[in-house]
């Protein structure tokens, strides 16, 4: 099984230097740019490869690039931004890449920049990733010294500058238009779309925001071609994916596997199954903005096209497992507390609705909930559904809630009938600190 993104990452957690990276073929594909691969050809290659965004949305990367105005009349400068905000709870895949092989991101950025003719790139990194920041800073310095950055690439006239932007910790900055405001030094609330960033983005210029893992795929596609890339996966979407798992399993961790691997394989074969003494009840397939999957869904291929919309979506593919020793209501309360705290406060339904949801869920845990509270939760899942709020944060918050109400209905009912939490570890942890 091929693992192009992670095969060279050191198991001991140390990073890879420029010299090591080059030795295993790193920066080699820049020569293809010099020998005549035009930006439009690169866009087409990535489209043919079927690369879909790894930030959670799964949008076709090549298609996104094709919206950027090109040619002599296009606005200048254009920007390419790596989204390394990675604050989605349960998600740690971009960190693995940036810490383990920082030059892969630098090279991916140069290529993506070339494809849309962007002369400047930013890596937007969450503030807590200090080790990633240190290693990326070193990698960028090495790449400048070696002439991959800051100098025209031989035979192309294309010159690319790359900066690292360390953020200061706020989940909404991962939303691409909020990220753009954050980079401009403004309060990071999302912007209205349209116009889309591909035409009007950073400082009003065409901008493409791409997830870190997405960008790591680009050099490999250029080196080995779109047919090879398709063969890596088991489904119609191309490539591998970093799958991760956390919760009470024997061996929590991450693995680069073919896209379309099932949750059962990750859980049983790679993570070694459930930990001693606990049983599986459900999982969130990719971060907490995705809907629960239960036993009946474990054999679905985990990719961007095989999960039926009524079941959910893949998200970031780093799953979180719910076991039978953990209260599903308490679990969802923890998620909603996160969303309420991280809501940017820009639009009313989200700013007011999420704390309300938290208070209702608290009433379940504390034994005060009635049937009316159950319907109130159902109603919130509708009020905060896609289309009712300014950005995707609130709808994301409703995905686990709505699916929990469906699959764990009896547990909610039991909280009402027994006036409290049957799992009742103290609920002190659920104090709201918003």
């Amino acid at each position: 099984m091929e693992r192009p993104l992670t095969q060279h990452i050191h198991p001991d957690g140390t990073t890879r230097t420029l010299r090591e990276y080059v030795k295993t073929g790193g920066y080699r594909c820049l020569q293809r740019l010099s020998s005549g691969l035009a930006p439009k050809d690169l866009q087409r290659l990535v489209t043919d490869a079927g690369l879909r965004g790894r930030g959670g949305g799964g949008f076709l990367t090549g298609t996104k690039w094709s919206f950027v105005p090109m040619g002599a009349d296009a606005p200048k400068p254009k920007y390419i931004v790596a989204n390394g905000d990675e604050m989605e709870p349960g998600t740690f895949k971009d960190r693995v890449l940036m810490e383990g092989d920082p030059h892969g991101l630098v090279e991916g950025m140069i290529l993506a920049g070339y494809a849309i003719d962007a002369e400047v790139g930013y890596i937007f990194l969450r503030g807590e990733y200090h080790l990633s920041a240190q290693r990326l800073t070193e990698a960028i310095a090495e790449a400048y010294a070696a002439g991959y950055l800051g100098k025209p690439l031989p035979g192309t006239g294309f010159r690319f500058d790359l900066h690292l932007h360390a953020s200061a910790g706020r989940y909404i900055c991962g939303e691409e238009t909020a990220l753009i405001n954050a980079l401009e030094g403004k309060r990071a609330v999302p912007r209205a779309k349209p116009p889309f960033p591909q035409t009007v983005g950073l400082w009003g210029k065409p901008t493409v925001v791409q997830n870190v893992e997405t960008l790591y795929n680009v050099p490999h596609i250029v080196n080995q071609g779109s047919d090879w890339y398709h063969r890596l996966s088991r489904t119609q979407d191309g490539g591998t994916k970093i799958y991760g798992i956390s919760g009470r399993v024997v061996n929590p961790g991450w693995w680069e596997l073919p896209l379309g691997t099932t949750a059962r394989e990750v859980l049983e074969r790679y993570a070694g199954g459930m930990a001693d003494g606990v049983r599986f009840r459900g999982l969130l397939p990719g971060g907490i903005s995705t809907a629960f999957m239960t036993e009946e869904h474990l054999d679905l291929p985990l990719d961007f096209s095989s999960i039926p919309p009524e079941v959910g979506r893949l998200g970031t593919a780093t799953m979180i497992v719910l076991d039978d020793h953990t209260c599903p209501v308490g679990f969802v309360l923890n998620l909603e507390k996160f969303f309420a705290r991280e809501s940017c406060g820009w639009c009313t339904p989200c700013r007011e609705g999420l704390p309300w949801v938290v208070r209702i869920l608290m009433s379940f845990e504390e034994g005060r909930a009635t049937k009316d509270d159950l319907s109130l939760l159902e109603m919130h899942a509708k009020w905060l559904a896609p289309g009712h709020t300014f950005c995707g944060l609130a709808p994301g918050a409703m995905a686990p809630l709505q699916s929990a109400l469906k699959y764990f209905h009896d547990d909610f009912e039991q909280h009402i009938s027994t006036h409290g939490c049957p799992w009742s570890k103290k609920s002190s942890q659920q104090r709201i600190l918003v």
Partner: protein
């Protein structure tokens, strides 16, 4: 007044952006590293340097989890309270910190050594529960390990 070193650091930061204002977060983080927190006076100095209003700087400063608008202890312990760490018992970790250092969430220990804050998922979920002290991350934390971990932060 910004010191010469601070000014030099800010001058480096603004080079990365076509508009000085882009360096707002860099400026806040840089100065906070030296001064520990962001006071009203600091806001004004940053605003003057970036040639924007104090309100502009404060609207950014108050938005982020890692910018402190109040004084903090000599060290800051961030306890992850997101889902994977909650499943694995982050509240026991936090309670143990409170027991040992007399600082509940949002508080500073009476000796000024440690401020304890909750933080969103640290991206270390495979080794939950996770804890970050200043810039160092610890995984698979248990209440029993706390004393030994905190030991080196005087």
């Amino acid at each position: 007044m910004l010191s010469d070193t601070e000014r030099r650091e800010l001058e480096d930061a603004v080079k990365h952006y076509p508009d000085k204002r882009g360096a707002t977060i860099d400026a806040l983080l840089t100065i906070q590293r030296r001064r520990g927190w962001i006071s009203d006076d600091t806001l004004l100095e940053i605003a003057q340097f970036l040639e924007i209003t104090v309100e502009d700087v404060d609207s950014v400063a108050t938005f982020y989890n890692l910018i402190f608008r109040k004084p903090v202890g000599r060290h800051v312990a961030f306890v992850c309270d997101s889902i994977s760490c909650w499943i694995k018992g982050c509240e026991q970790v936090q309670e143990q910190i409170n027991t040992l250092y007399n600082a509940d969430l949002g508080q500073t220990s009476p000796d000024g050594r440690l401020t304890v804050l909750p933080i969103a998922c640290l991206g270390q979920c495979e080794r939950a529960p996770a804890l970050m002290i200043d810039q160092d991350v610890y995984g698979d934390v248990t209440p029993e390990k706390i004393e030994q971990i905190v030991e080196k932060y005087k």
